[in-house]
């Protein structure tokens, strides 16, 4: 580096320097970058056990330089429970999509949170099953067209989209639950702060940390990345309000 050059931005040590497999404009990449930065900044990289789930995020273990194990579809919270019980001294992190967490894995996430397992779960809500080609998810918006709701989700037959951050916030074992969005820089900064809180409650052994991120799937939304960001603002946030639904650090510190 010459004298004039100032290093303003560097790759976090937890991130592996390879191209990712995500579609252009997909915000799985943004989430993983935030997670990697936080692991590095918080000095957790060498102490982390990562549980990867099923869905477009399954290759996360290729992008984060941490020890990881793969969970069956929806079961990551149970796998994380086993890992944390075996090694309570480790930082246990899991990362799940909406089909994974809110459909097939509904029982596992609820009970894991309710037991107050000291783990952190990152929940990427892109209102669709991405990997399998854009089918309807439990979080799909009413009226949203998907390959299995070609006329748009019909609330009277298919129910209303499930608001996970609120539900998790209601459970006794939850220490932190919040919803953030990745549609602009300001919100991405807030997302990182909230993720940090979800990590910190685990470090403080306060219980279950949960962070829901509203993210784009431009491919299955059939939108440009810019239009997809606008959809988050105009359509998703009014139904999935951003905010903190539980934060034990406020109560314990206050």
């Amino acid at each position: 580096m010459s004298e004039q050059e100032i290093l303003a931005f560097d790759k976090a040590d937890a991130l592996v320097d390879i191209p990712t497999h995500y579609c252009p404009g997909c915000q799985h990449g943004v989430t993983q970058r935030l997670a990697g930065e936080l692991l590095s900044e918080m000095g957790l990289t060498e102490n982390t056990l990562l549980i990867t789930a099923i869905g477009c995020s399954v290759f996360l273990y290729n992008y984060l330089n941490v020890d990881s194990v793969e969970a069956p579809h929806g079961r990551a919270p149970a796998v994380a429970t086993g890992a944390k019980r075996a090694r309570p001294d480790k930082f246990v992190l899991s990362y799940q999509g909406d089909g994974d967490l809110a459909s097939i894995g509904m029982a596992e996430i609820m009970h894991c949170a309710n037991r107050g397992e000291n783990i952190s779960i990152i929940f990427v809500n892109n209102t669709v099953y991405g990997m399998t080609g854009g089918q309807m998810a439990p979080t799909t918006m009413v009226g949203q067209k998907t390959t299995t709701s070609p006329a748009g989700r019909n609330a009277s037959k298919e129910g209303m989209p499930i608001r996970m951050a609120e539900i998790i916030g209601q459970l006794g074992g939850t220490a932190f639950s919040a919803r953030v969005a990745l549609n602009n820089v300001k919100n991405i900064r807030k997302a990182k702060k909230a993720m940090k809180k979800a990590f910190e409650v685990q470090q403080k052994e306060l219980g279950f940390g949960f962070i829901e991120l509203l993210a784009t799937c431009p491919t299955n939304w059939r939108m440009t990345p810019i239009k997809a960001n606008e959809r988050i603002e105009e359509e998703l946030i009014p139904y999935f309000p951003l905010g903190v639904f539980k934060d034990l650090t406020v109560e314990t510190e206050g």
Binding site: E46, V69, E70, R75, V79, G82, R85, A86, K90, H111
Partner: protein, 355 residues
């Protein structure tokens, strides 16, 4: 821990739980189902008392998946259940086998299919030895016939699980789980705390992150993984165990495992007293199956009868073992009934008499 020379009068279920703790069990995950409830009940008090973790999971699905997390950390972990519960665990068992994670799974077989009944049965033999989950994989299966053997085999199961980096199943039934017998407890001299140190997850300190997975997408990589598994299963095949009783001069060898093997032994004792030349071959390892030793008996010209508490499952493995030389008769005692030694007298004499 148990004192030397101590004798306990306990159920098979408790023998399994105590054996596991003696073997250094660190994490147990379970869900209630009859006839194995004594295992989670015993664990809930005894395991925390020795510094281990007990979790009553929300379902068998969750319990089996908790095993994935604990086994990935290289600690000794276990779950137990009975037939319908084992069906639910199969997804995780397939992942455990695919990711090569060592753990112990106990099935105290009850009657099926479906809800069936809570009485004994051997209806889960195929599910256990052929891999009840998806994909090509094998699980080591050990079938105890007595409470002492249940205790001993659980200890062996953990060693085998770590030796082969593979799930090991203890296949018992409601008879074994619920009967009480004297058991001499013992503790293995050395339990290697560092088992799995070269693959387990413990934090990527000073090295690249480790990945334990069963997903192999790039061309040829799944084939290579399967080749590795196949070689491992071939290595396992060298290790087999069985009980042979009164077999040397026997004209008819009865093949039966677990509780049924033990009941058949009583029948054989009686028939021997009456001068009938019958013997018992009781496989203790159901996978790998002791095919080589059975074949040797076939080469000596012996006849075979397989007795099971089901409609005919292990008999297929017996026939495969001896198929180039002879065949085996089959007597299936119907699940839903409890056999006594007398129930087997007639079928044995019939086979002995020949066709």
């Amino acid at each position: 821990m148990s004192k030397n020379g101590e004798k306990l009068f306990i159920k098979g279920n408790e023998a399994i739980a105590r054996g596991a703790i003696a073997a250094g069990l660190k994490c147990y995950f379970g869900y209630p189902i009859t006839p194995q409830n004594d295992i989670p009940e015993y664990m809930s008090a005894a395991l925390p008392a020795v510094g281990g973790e007990f979790v009553q999971a929300e379902s068998e699905v969750a319990a089996a998946n908790m095993l994935i997390g604990a086994a990935a950390c290289g600690v000794r972990s276990m779950t137990s259940s009975s037939s319908p519960g084992i069906s639910l665990k199969q997804e995780a068992i397939s992942y455990l086998a695919g990711s090569q994670l060592p753990t112990v799974i106990v099935n105290m077989n009850r009657g099926g299919p479906g809800l069936g009944d809570i009485g004994p049965s051997q209806g889960d033999y195929f599910q256990a030895v052929k891999g009840g989950g998806h994909g090509d994989y094998r699980v080591l299966v050990l079938a105890p016939g007595t409470c002492q053997e249940a205790y001993d085999l659980v200890i062996k199961a953990f060693d085998l699980a770590f030796k082969y980096r593979n799930p090991v199943m203890i296949l018992g039934d409601a008879i074994l789980g619920q009967m009480k017998e004297p058991v001499s407890p013992w503790t293995p001299e050395k339990i290697d705390e560092n088992e799995g140190h070269d693959w387990r997850l413990c934090g990527a300190k000073g090295r690249k992150g480790r990945i334990l997975k069963s997903l192999f997408l790039s061309e040829g990589s799944l084939a290579a993984h399967h080749e590795h598994l196949q070689n491992k299963y071939a290595d396992m095949a060298e290790f087999t165990q069985q009980e042979e009783y009164q077999i040397d001069d026997a004209e008819l060898v009865v093949v039966a495992y677990g509780s049924i093997g033990r009941i058949v032994k009583s029948t054989i004792k009686k028939l021997r007293n009456n001068g009938h030349k019958v013997g018992l071959f009781r496989p203790i390892t159901l996978y790998p199956f002791p095919s080589g030793d059975l074949k040797k008996l076939a080469e000596q010209g012996k006849k075979f009868l397989t007795i099971e508490h089901n409609l005919g499952q292990m008999v297929e493995d017996v026939r495969l073992s001896i198929r180039t030389i002879t065949d085996s008769d089959f007597f299936g005692f119907l699940p839903g009934n409890l056999p006594t030694p007398d129930d087997f007298e007639e079928p044995i004499l019939k086979s002995l008499g020949g066709k």
